[in-house]
């Protein structure tokens, strides 16, 4: 084999490996994978000049136009408390307390980051929908079929994830909510 052909083969393979590796890593990376707290992942440098190239790329793919931490915090979960992938054919109990922001809201998305079609057109359960007296201990049923109480429909899709937004966080976005204050995601059963 001629020398130039060896260089060409290795050079092209290197380029393909580099581009492919970056694309794979960004597509596989959880949004805000910089900190993992139980099933939730988050980061504090979205939208800032200090964000790493990797964070910037993942946020652009999964949460373009995210706000900086002092304005809003984003916590994302693709797993339940036991580390199993969130499955839209299963029933979950999501429980939490006061999250210390001006308002907060868990929202259900498909794995591409889009809202999931469902008959009642419910995509999130915001703090405004919960009476102030109940915000210290609230519960939401995440399931494919109607549930008593607050129901966040999954649409029966195979994989979904939850994004918890906390707007105007009480600490100005400087710290992460601890595990004890982030909602619990318990799988009850599957169809």
């Amino acid at each position: 084999m001629k020398p130039w052909l060896r260089y060409a083969i290795c050079g092209l393979a290197g380029l393909a490996l580099g581009v492919g590796g970056a694309v794979w890593q960004v597509r596989a990376g959880a949004w805000g994978s910089s900190v993992r707290i139980g099933p939730w992942t988050t980061g504090t440098d979205y939208g800032t000049a200090g964000a790493s190239a990797y964070t910037r790329a993942v946020v652009a793919l999964r949460g373009l136009l995210a706000l900086p931490a002092r304005e809003a915090r984003y916590y994302n979960a693709a797993l339940d408390d036991d580390g199993r992938a969130l499955d839209g054919r299963c029933r979950y109990r999501v429980t939490g307390g006061e999250l210390g922001g001006a308002w907060w809201s868990p929202t259900l998305y498909d794995r591409d980051g889009y809202l999931v079609a469902n008959r009642p057109g419910t995509y999130s359960v915001g703090s405004a929908a919960i009476a102030p007296a109940q915000r210290g201990a609230w519960e939401v049923a995440v399931a494919p079929v109607p549930q008593p109480g607050r129901w966040l429909p999954t649409g029966g899709i195979e994989r979904f994830d939850l994004t918890l937004r906390v707007y105007l966080p009480a600490d100005g976005g400087r710290g992460n909510l601890p595990r004890a204050r982030l909602p619990r995601i318990q799988r009850l059963d599957c169809a």
């Binding site: 793919l61 900086p68 001006a102 929202t107 405004a128």
Partner: protein
């Protein structure tokens, strides 16, 4: 035999690292450019558009919040500064954020920051003149997007909010 492949393999490894880093750096700009084009197709440039609230069919921007009414303006500063004026709306939270083509946030202000008063800024490139008395927001790169977010606590309040937000403006100075 192996010695003949040593330098080519080294070249391949160096190119792999460079390509990896270049792809990561280019990704936000590529995705942002595509998003700006999608929004621009719906409403043009330097124009504020007020789409309905996000639903399952929404594909313009990934991961939209179903609790917010978004108004957006794709801006282009090549022809001069662009003014954004946000009118107060009857909602507990509203804000203006400005993103450059690299996805960095150039400006954020909410109704608490402004005391409920209108927010009025001029988006400009470094070196572009802004009228005296106007707050200038200097943006890296000519193109980007300004986004107004309004919290809609229940969908039956959307009609009143939608009427009020249409008093906001985006346009050339």
């Amino acid at each position: 035999m192996m010695r003949r492949w040593l330098l080519p393999l080294l070249l391949g490894a160096v190119l792999a690292i460079l390509a990896y880093k270049a792809t990561l750096i280019a990704t936000p700009r590529v995705l942002m450019t595509a998003a700006l084009k999608r929004v621009e197709r719906l409403g043009g440039v330097n124009v504020l558009r007020h789409p309905p609230m996000a639903s399952a069919g929404a594909r313009t921007i990934v991961r939209p919040s179903p609790d917010l009414a978004y108004s957006s303006c794709v801006f282009d500063l090549d022809g001069g500064p662009v003014m954004i004026e946000v009118a107060p709306v009857p909602a507990p939270y509203w804000s203006l954020s400005v993103f450059d083509a690299r996805t960095d946030v150039a400006f954020v202000r909410n109704n608490r920051d402004s005391g409920g008063a209108p927010i009025r800024v001029a988006l400009a490139l470094a070196g572009q003149d802004v009228p005296a008395g106007m707050e200038a927001v200097r943006v890296e790169g000519a193109r980007g997007i300004a986004l107004i977010r309004v919290l809609v606590e229940s969908r039956d309040r959307f009609a009143a909010i939608d009427r009020a937000r249409r008093a906001s403006r985006c346009g050339r100075l």
